[in-house]
Assembly symmetry: C2
Homo-oligomer: 359 residues x 2
């Protein structure tokens, strides 16, 4: 039996969440909103990766844009968590660069630890179930696997990437037979029935050495510039600013394209049944069980299947069905649930009109 | 040929306009909102009754609640109109009391003038056409008729009272054969086809003596207490406050029930084709031609037949049809056009919840 692994959680907080407009804004994207509970998705993510009897999680590393550093510090303080550091990306460079920084940071400052790279804006209602998969997958990651987490599909979703599981590595972890990009409806239905295709949750567990090796092999410029950006970073208290020139030189690519689809080390843990959702659109909140408490700021008469959210204004609705109605102090959204994915078109239109104050 | 009549316009500004919530509020009901144009319905009404080559209108008398005196003075100043007075009702006592005060005020202060009693919250797009009816009907009113104005129905509306025209009095003015309360759909369709039934616009032209006589005959308590409330009123600049105890003693009844349905003097001018609407619900604005200018605070993508109004917040809508969406800084309304009349149910619910700040 191997020694229990120590794991460095690295929380990627760079998402913009435009499909949750008008609540999700550039200055306060969805991961920082208290959409479902008293805590934000970011706070829930941090707490989900706290040390416990089951896993030796180290204090979390947060990777985010400069605009959110203060908000992150405040939200961490609110839940009483001191981070290992808040690493500031001078500009967005997609997830491969983040994985490179995360691995390099862990290797340099927490030698021997594995890295768990997780988005800040996902919901996982059953943290214990998820942690059990992480604890189990650590054995595979310790042996050099780059482990993704595969969520058991609850529907034939065409907006997600799917992972096809291959031969078992250990119990609960399989080789990746293939990554399948967003499928058409028929293919997605086939996947769901077959039982070997899982949603790609965008969460990764790996040893820094394995990740560094694969990045060097498949994306050497990313490996080099990301490591240099960290080496030449400046630190002020808990905040670590990556070197802007170096990070700017880092090609922008996703970890899936840059590494996962090329490496022989790819593995998938799961299927995970832990109430996962990327809260990719307002309808994800309508589906959540956490959405059933009455809001005194809402009157809905003769309404059916209507999701009404407000962060201030009163909302009165009468005689409407299957709508999303979201109100903030300066903007209101009305759309049918079937158009939830298209909310970003309104954001695009606002951008085109130069209405930055509403983004 | 009789001498041209002098007419005292009396503008009733006591309406609450709850079906235009959330823009129409207790403190600023619909007649004071600039819903369609640069001027409010109140201002448009005042200007519609200004003196001209066609009619000797006297400066207007405004009758309103105390809460609106300042707003009225400001809106009059904005259009450069000095009123004869702003008469404050200490409490609402319906239109019969207002007619009694209007007649008594005219008789006492503008002897020889007729009284034109008009609601402040109606839209009449063709003021000239309306004024021609008033000028014509003055001859009948001078001879003792209490003239209502009958609007030619443009649809089988079931929310209005109808006036059935009888024998001609003069050209353009007929006796009232009957008042018909809100009819069912079939009856309303019959009315529209027949051509002898007109919408009751709630506008009245009469000599103060004729009105006083009929009130004394059919509603003596109203005649007595309203006259006393005016006799015992206090005046402060342009503001005349009716005596609260006397006005409180005045029975609350509509001029239609108290007088018009009983008097032999009832006459109807019309049919009036002057673009009349009582703007009774949001759908009335959707129907108006004045509603077609683009609002930079609105983005509507793939929307059809949607009325969007905002007095501040940005509104983004996508993929919805036949909805009313109204946004103010503190409240939002969403309803299908077919439920426009039911907006007041939301207001009722807010009252029941004690949310006075939203009323």
């Amino acid at each position: 039996m191997t020694a229990r692994a120590t794991i460095q959680p690295v929380i990627m907080s760079g998402g913009s969440g435009t499909r949750l407009w008008p609540m999700s804004r550039t200055a306060r994207p969805k991961q920082f909103l208290k959409l479902l509970r008293d805590r934000s998705l970011f706070q829930e993510t941090v707490l989900r990766l706290a040390p416990g009897d089951d896993i030796d999680f180290l204090p979390p590393l947060i990777i985010a844009g400069a605009a959110h550093a203060t908000l992150i510090a405040a939200q961490l303080a609110e839940i009483g968590v001191a981070p290992a550091a808040i690493v500031i990306e001078p500009m967005a460079r997609n997830t491969a660069a983040v994985a490179a920084v995360a691995g390099a940071w862990t290797a340099g400052r927490r030698p021997g630890a594995l890295t768990l790279l997780a988005p800040a804006d996902h919901l996982i209602t059953n943290a214990a179930a998820f942690r059990a998969h992480v604890a189990n997958a650590a054995a595979a990651a310790s042996k050099g696997a780059i482990v993704t987490f595969g969520v058991r599909p609850s529907e034939a979703h065409t907006g997600y990437g799917y992972i096809e599981a291959g031969a078992p590595v250990i119990a609960g972890v399989a080789e990746v037979a293939a990554f399948r990009e967003k499928p058409d409806r028929q293919t997605a239905e086939h996947y769901v029935k077959g039982g070997r295709h899982f949603w790609n949750a965008g969460i990764f567990l790996f040893s820094p050495e394995a990740m560094a090796g694969e990045l060097e092999a498949f994306a050497p410029a990313i490996a080099r510039e990301a490591a240099a950006a960290l080496d030449e970073s400046t630190t002020d208290g808990a905040v670590c600013r990556l070197d802007p020139a170096r990070f700017a030189a880092c090609p922008a690519d996703s970890i899936d394209y840059a590494v996962m689809e090329k490496t022989a080390r790819a593995a998938v843990a799961g299927p995970v049944d832990a109430g996962w959702s990327d809260i990719g659109a307002w309808t994800a909140l309508a589906d959540s069980e956490a959405n059933d408490k009455a809001d005194p700021r809402v009157v809905a008469l003769d309404c059916d299947g209507v999701l009404i959210r407000t962060d201030g204004p009163f909302v009165g609705a009468i005689g409407v069905s299957d709508l999303i109605i979201v109100a903030t102090g300066d903007a209101v959204l009305v759309a049918p649930k079937s158009r939830a994915q298209d909310v970003k078109k309104i954001v695009d239109e606002l951008k085109a009109r130069g209405r930055g104050e509403l983004l």
